[in-house]
């Protein structure tokens, strides 16, 4: 960090920098060297057929998956590893947990805590992880629920909320940690079509406020409207990337063309 500062404070590191990220499950290589960069405030959509490795890549960014090779840094800080004398050492779980505080994640199946109300879900991490005072956490949590349009659902348990409402609570829960980066893993894939819009609207609002976001999605409309960049992945590699409008309108690769012809 201090090294980059010395060369000039104006050069900010990208929010996410992935260099030749590789991930294997046993003999199966899911990611075959992913290199990409996400700038501060950028919204990037990751698209591709299922099994292309996009979700796995997303999970590498907050170290839910351990890299097999390559390196990945968020805001100039190496994720999950410590570098000493040119070698990488895996971090202790405590240090990795500390890095995850700044990276919000939203899951396909929401994964709200079912034994807690919406409000308690949002309050849990700031209360337990950051140890902030309860009154402050609660008022912030209520603000966040209002922001996702669920102020009147604060005391509901997840089972009594619709899928769209649950996903919005999940977004509020992630935002409660005041992350600098938000990861969305197919946030609308488990939703009924009529509920997709309300979740995308919340995400659009977030993008407008300048949040850096990486979104794995099949919602091409959202990608075209909101994303700054679109990355098409297939079989563990980045096939092509660029401005969403360009990639969607004139895909250069045959594989991209084949995929888009099916989903558009």
């Amino acid at each position: 960090m201090s090294g980059t500062l010395a060369t000039g404070a104006s050069v900010e590191p990208p929010m996410v920098l992935a260099e030749q990220v590789t991930k294997s499950f046993g003999a199966h290589e899911v990611l075959k060297g992913i290199t990409l960069e996400v700038k501060r405030g950028e919204v990037m959509c990751l698209v591709g057929p299922s099994g292309s490795g996009k979700s796995t890549f997303l999970r590498c960014i907050n170290h839910l998956e351990v890299l097999s090779a390559g390196r990945l840094s968020v805001d100039g800080e190496l994720i999950g590893y410590r570098e000493a004398n040119g070698k990488l050492y895996e971090m202790a779980p405590k240090e990795a947990a500390k890095q995850r505080r700044d990276i919000g994640m939203v899951f396909q199946r929401f994964n709200l805590f079912p034994h807690m109300t919406a409000l308690q879900n949002v309050m849990e991490a700031p209360l337990r992880v950051k140890g902030l005072p309860k009154a402050k956490v609660e008022s912030t949590a209520r603000d966040l629920l209002a922001r996702v349009g669920l102020a009147d659902r604060a005391d509901y348990y997840p089972a009594h909320l619709s899928g769209g409402q649950q996903q919005r609570v999940a977004i509020a829960r992630a935002l409660a940690m005041e992350p600098k980066l938000m990861l969305f893993d197919e946030p609308t894939s488990a939703l009924d079509p009529e509920l997709v819009g309300e979740v995308l609207d919340v995400m659009k609002g977030l993008a407008k406020e300048g949040m850096t976001m990486i979104v794995v999605t099949h919602e091409m409309g959202f990608a075209r409207e909101v994303a700054d960049s679109l990355v098409f992945m297939d079989a563990g590699v980045v096939v092509e990337s660029g401005l969403p409008s360009e990639v969607l309108a004139n895909p250069r690769h045959a594989r991209t063309q084949a995929f888009l012809s099916k989903v558009l």
Binding site: L64, A97, R101, R109, H115, Y157, L195
Partner: protein, 305 residues
């Protein structure tokens, strides 16, 4: 149909026969049923059950969490414990606990190979009641550990991921997210274990501890030379307690299965669940929601996973 009639006939015959058979000595049964020594022994049996179960549950949770720990050393220690305590009969274990003062004559507190800060004789520190509780509890903990482990594994993997992604530590994830949700699976078999423990207390004569129900009955009959009625007396007391526990278990299971395919029952608690389920705050309040798939309005989104 014929079989049922035969069964009833045999049963009735047995009852009538038993009522008049002198060896059962029913007057003595009546006399000893509420004998003060017997009722005191019944109380001791309850004490043994409660103390052992409480310790076993706490230890079982610790062992189960250890078995699921990512640390291989911690994991192996828990595995070793289960291997020893599930692999040997409880009667043998209780006998060994009774002989513990021969193995370890004094209990020293201090650093190894140095003069201890505190030292007291094992026989003075641990009476037979304590040893009986220790023996029963450590054995039962191994079984409780398996029950708790099954409960922990029943919680959706996504819960752990969500918790970790929020920056929560492994222990926070366990105590705040996984354990509370696993209660639904843990409670019913634990009820069985309590009933089983009540009966297993009759083995503490191996320690030897002699003030609980069975051993006390045997001791009394050793004086009267009339063992049968006292065995019946002890059995009646055991049946009385297990019946109470079975009824309790029935209602507990009913309570904890509530919400399975039954959302309506709890729909009104959305605003203030505490009023309805206040008796069991952590588990009760969230319980009806735990067992529901996260997307009730969307079939086929992975609910079968």
């Amino acid at each position: 149909m014929v079989f049922a009639v035969v069964l009833v006939a045999i049963f009735v015959f047995f009852v009538i026969d038993a009522a008049f058979r002198p060896a059962f000595d029913w007057p003595s049964v009546g006399k000893y049923l509420f004998d003060r020594r017997i009722s005191m022994a019944a109380l001791v049996t309850i004490e043994l059950t409660v103390f052992s179960m409480v310790i076993a549950i706490i230890l079982g949770v610790i062992l189960a969490v250890m078995r699921l720990s990512p640390n291989p050393v911690v994991k192996s220690v828990a595995w070793f414990y289960l291997w020893i305590f599930r692999g040997t009969p409880v009667y043998v274990q209780l006998t060994i606990w009774g002989l513990i003062s021969l193995i370890y004559t004094s209990i020293d507190i201090g650093l190894p190979f140095m003069t201890p800060w505190l030292s007291f004789s094992t026989t003075a520190a641990l009476n037979t009641f304590t040893l009986a509780v220790i023996g029963l509890a450590l054995n039962e903990a191994a079984y409780m550990a398996e029950i708790v482990r099954a409960g922990l594994l029943s919680v959706d993997k996504g819960q752990e991921e969500a918790s970790i992604a929020l920056g929560m530590s492994w222990s926070q994830t366990m105590t705040r997210v996984i354990l509370p949700q696993s209660m639904r699976v843990i409670i019913p078999p634990t009820g069985n274990e309590v009933i089983s423990m009540l009966k297993t207390t009759s083995l503490v004569t191996a320690v030897p501890f002699s003030l609980e129900l069975f051993t006390r009955s045997r001791d009394i009959s050793a004086e009267t030379f009339n063992p049968i009625p006292l065995l019946i007396v002890a059995s009646i007391w055991y049946l009385f307690f297990t019946s109470i526990l079975m009824v309790g278990q029935y209602f507990l299971e009913k309570r904890f299965s509530r919400g399975v395919g039954d959302r309506q029952a709890n729909k009104s608690d959305a605003g203030g669940g505490a009023g309805l389920t206040g008796a069991v705050p952590i588990v009760g309040a969230g319980q009806p929601t735990v067992v529901l798939p996260p997307t009730p309005d969307k079939p086929g989104t992975g609910g079968t996973r």
